[in-house]
Symmetry: none
Subunit: 421 residues, 2 copies
């Protein structure tokens, strides 16, 4: 079964936004065994949209479309849909209720422009939007399905996962594809590839695909196989993972299965803290609150998270976390002594059972001859045991912040589980 | 003059890599007055490539192509080029020298596969690659130009800037395109559209395009026009912006000009703090460190940023920021009284001239009958003047965090600049 992805919007063609929707949709389709054969982007222009629809019908069974559905005048998509599908716009009462409820909640009146968000081409199957005002629309012509969704990523993502993919699975007989992803932290892509090269060769002979998916501080290893027998596929992949485990056990922090939640390190750590009844405190210098942001991005984190101190100047490392001023003079703020003093006092000030402290040179400024940009010290402690480590990440400020955060969260996970490096 | 961008490669269609080449090429073309009318991605497949070439010739004067030129894939792409352009491959002696030199430098022998990198379709204009082994190729058919470049971003970028763009400018007489974007915060897309609808109508009559680009908490308004007279276009767009200003002045936090840096609110505030010699302190409850992360994502922020307290439990709002326990009992932690007490003490504890404090219900849990999810209080203060405001954002946790952050940063900017709401 073939799919095509079409994104509508001048902002893509003038290079103002990166088209992340297409890559995300392609991943989701591939995971359920649908091949994406074409991707294209066209302007908010009637002729271009119609031409793209016609071309797509020759290539694909289903066309996923995003963009062009905002309430403003630059969007002509819905009008063009009606023309292509030879129909007209009607108010969808359910959508109108949704839109009205959103505005009522904000204590705002519904304008005419807002009301028009509830208009859909007659005959289309409406996909309600739980996160915004523009509904999705499922339409058909010449044996090709066209699904139009808003361009706002989280609105589109919820619709695709909750409504569109289940509907595709219902209508088409797809081969079963099983993916399982091993989440690793603390080893780079090329080193990992060298380490597991024999295992990987054997894998290919068994018809199992392997993809390396690197992101700052971590590499995800995705194993994929397809066939008719779901249980057999699951068994086959689990068997291979069991063979690999002894080689890379200390780098593995979790697993991901398609269709289930994709666990992030902050989520895995959060569950662990909750299970063990531990309260977490943080102090962050170079990461400037990013670790705290990751921890609190998980809903329910207030059950195990006490808070954070970001002492962005040495004066506050001293005033708030009692780091002795002699440390700044002798070892500097990016040192074992500094992060160990920080982590110790974080446990006290935030009345925590476990804590993380980080201090580093995120860059581009701040480097010395002994401490290049990327130099970072991380300490984790449960009050009894404190582990501190030095890392030299890289040149890119944001990447250093991200790598420090994921590394620190995993160091605490390992401390709690008593996993040696 | 119209251009089309075509990327070739299975890795794009399976969603393994984000197509950043297309957005970068689109930016470069727009800046020299070339309109990109279509972007597409196809697999490493003969039929798909030929069809894409044919379709492009109906739409564009020039087609920029990347990908498909690696030493293993070039079989199919270059062979397909020869088929489409009705020619055959020949060794280009200059390229062979380049490739040989690269391998000599690495002390490696040239394999047959490597030698074939020097093959190009006869009759094509060769673009030498200073950063890799695959050459670029400039070919023509039916009045359409096709430029094939490698997919490795920095190899392609050097070719486009040094060779392709100068050649385009030589061959075509290009109009000048000017874009200027107004950055607004604090008003939703549809309300903004209603407010400026008369101005927008007049704009279209003058040949100026307008696009609404929303993101959490803010809307960017992009004005675009093209013509022969660069200064006239700049004047025309500035004149329209001047007309609009009185209507939406309090929502504008900055401007963006095409090709220049795109300023973020945290950057604009950072510059302002630096200029005025002010030190910033933060205390964040519901945003959990995200505002601090935004502030410290800007390099050089240590010049104006002192730090942050994240008191994620009431106990620490009391212990670290002296919020009276009676406030939690009487008004609750999400209240004017709480954020005002927090902001006041933040100035003291972090020895700051200006401060932000936020407390809210990010969701999905934590709502009460009086305070739905999304309810957020923000206070900003310079010690003399304190402004606090209540917002009801929405249902989505991360979006609430993002909206609170951008709103809070802009509230502080307005306080410093003495801009009334």
């Amino acid at each position: 079964m073939n799919a095509e992805i079409l994104t509508i919007g001048n902002e893509i063609l003038i290079g103002q936004i990166i088209n992340t929707n297409s890559v995300w949709m392609a991943q989701q389709l591939n995971m359920i065994g649908v091949s994406v054969v074409h991707m294209s982007s066209v302007a908010d222009n009637r002729n271009d949209i119609i031409k793209a629809f016609e071309d797509a019908s020759n290539r694909a069974n289903i066309v996923l479309i995003t963009g062009g559905l905002g309430p403003t005048k630059d969007d002509i998509t819905k009008k063009t849909f009606c023309e292509y599908f030879e129909t007209h716009l009607v108010i969808d009462e359910d959508v109108l209720q949704d839109v009205t409820a959103i505005f009522a909640k904000k204590n705002r009146d519904l304008t005419d422009l807002n009301r028009r968000q509830a208009e859909v081409p007659q005959g289309s199957l409406v996909i309600r939007n739980k996160n915004g005002t523009a509904p999705g629309m499922w339409m058909e012509k010449n044996n090709t399905i066209y699904v139009s969704m808003p361009g706002v990523p989280y609105e589109m993502q919820a619709m695709l996962l909750n409504d569109v993919i289940p509907e595709i699975k219902k209508r088409f007989e797809l081969p079963f594809i099983h993916h399982k992803t091993i989440l690793t932290q603390g080893i780079g892509e090329s080193f990992l590839a060298e380490l597991i090269s024999d295992w990987e060769d054997a894998l290919h002979e068994k018809g199992i695909g392997l993809a390396y998916l690197p992101s700052p501080g971590m590499v995800r290893l995705r194993l994929s196989a397809n066939g008719r027998d779901e249980l057999e596929l699951i068994r086959k992949i689990d068997e291979e993972i069991e063979k690999l485990k002894p080689q890379i056990d200390k780098y593995i922090y979790g697993y991901e299965e398609y269709g289930k939640e994709q666990p992030k390190i902050e989520e895995i750590l959060g569950k662990l803290l909750l299970e063990k009844g531990l309260k977490l405190g943080l102090s962050e210098s170079c990461t400037g609150g990013y670790i705290s942001h990751l921890v609190t991005s998980i809903s329910g984190s207030s059950a195990y998270y006490n808070g954070c101190i970001v002492p962005y100047q040495n004066e506050f490392k001293n005033a708030l976390l009692k780091v002795d001023n002699s440390i700044f003079l002798e070892q500097g703020a990016v040192s074992k002594e500094c992060v160990e003093a920080m982590v110790k006092e974080t446990l006290v000030v935030l009345n925590a059972n476990v804590a993380i402290a980080v201090s580093g040179i995120a860059g581009p400024g701040g480097a010395t001859s002994e401490k290049p940009v990327g130099t970072t010290w991380i300490a984790v402690s449960d009050g009894k045991k404190t582990i501190s480590k030095k890392f030299i990440f890289g040149d890119n400020r944001l990447r250093n912040i991200h790598m420090t955060a994921t590394t620190a969260l995993n160091m605490l996970r390992k401390l709690i589980l008593n996993i040696e490096d």
